[in-house]
Symmetry: C2
């Protein structure tokens, strides 16, 4: 159906469209894909011929409905494999990305369907990102960033915005993971860093860290 490279471009365009609402630029794509802009132009032309993207010269690209379907399917597979690796194969959440990047390209509808069933139809991956269903629908649960939280509130970690190994290992080291309950003790006016209580420890988190933690504000007693 699609080549490895085409699939990777589709995925990248999908992710970039979230922040580049009026078309993904060639340079943005070339940065994301770690290739030269000229290579991107070449590939965009191919995707455009296949009607996976809409493209006008110098105007950037956007996915067509067909392209979106394809991209979402790859993301679905990626996230299901991540669940598999963590839940069944003892991978840590910072180790799954590269392997899932390979597994996501395996072509077999039955495989995806059965993997989903085998995992119990998970709704989110190990980083808290939603897993789209077969129709390509994302069930988004409401979530905000820790930076939106007020002093005194209790937040449950439901996801990470940055899922780089560096960040994830930092969280591990500090006993923070999905499901962790943080009480926001203090927001520092000077740099917007926050002081939180997690378990019985107090932790100081920079604004950058807080802005990469997705939370759900919780009732003290729930």
């Amino acid at each position: 159906m699609f080549s490895l490279s085409e699939e990777n471009y589709l995925k990248a365009i999908f992710h970039l469209e979230l922040s580049h609402k009026n078309g993904v630029t060639t340079n943005a794509l070339s940065e994301e894909m770690e290739t030269k802009a000229s290579s991107v132009t070449d590939m965009i032309k191919k995707l455009s011929e296949k009607e996976l993207v809409r493209y006008k010269k110098y105007q950037g690209v956007r996915l067509s409905e067909k392209g979106r379907k394809a991209a979402v399917n790859i993301i679905r597979k990626h996230r299901l494999w991540e669940c598999f690796l963590v839940e069944k194969l003892n991978f840590n959440w910072d180790e799954v990305h590269d392997v899932a990047e390979q597994l996501e390209h395996v072509k077999s509808d039955k495989l995806t369907k059965e993997l989903d069933r085998f995992l119990g139809f998970p709704k989110t991956d190990p980083h808290g990102d939603p897993i789209p269903d077969v129709e390509g629908k994302f069930y988004k649960t409401p979530r905000t960033l820790l930076t939106e939280c007020d002093e005194g509130e209790v937040a449950v970690i439901v996801g990470v915005k940055d899922s780089s190994a560096t960040f994830l290992r930092f969280l591990d080291k500090n006993g923070i993971g999905l499901g962790s309950r943080l009480k926001l003790l203090h927001i520092e006016d000077f740099d917007h860093s926050v002081e939180v209580e997690v378990g019985n420890n107090k932790l100081h988190l920079s604004k950058k860290i807080a802005s990469n933690l997705f939370i759900r504000v919780s009732n003290e007693n729930e």
Copy 2:
């Protein structure tokens, strides 16, 4: 490490070496790989430069130790994935091949190791073929073909020589699978076809079919 194509050639050479004891010929490889002989020559040169095979012009190829290790590792992964598909994802034994062909190329030692553990360190795949260990060692259990069986003996099916979907579905249709107990009632002198009892049915199997069934001769009462 190795390209997809290189891996497929290594695997093919390994399989062909079993029957072509004094070197795998270019034509044999081109048939196995479904490519032209000239393409094979090109690839052989590349593998030879990488010291994965020993090659002298017009003399065919054989795997080096390094090449054998690589080939066996791919076969190991292929067979582990086949187990996974059948035991965990409800695949039938005639459906696993193409998907395993894709999965076998995923690169991650941890993945292979953990998959092996997750499956309970299986020794054979769904077709009864042995799964090599991490060191590349095959633990071969003694087995013969149904054609070697004598009248009156009871045979347990422990593997299939031909694992094409056509053959496997034929076996399914006739209630034969790994572990089936067949009593050899009669060998027909004319064409060496055999009459067997499986369950409460009598079946007539051509010589070709009998010669593709690996068996272990069993004690009536075991």
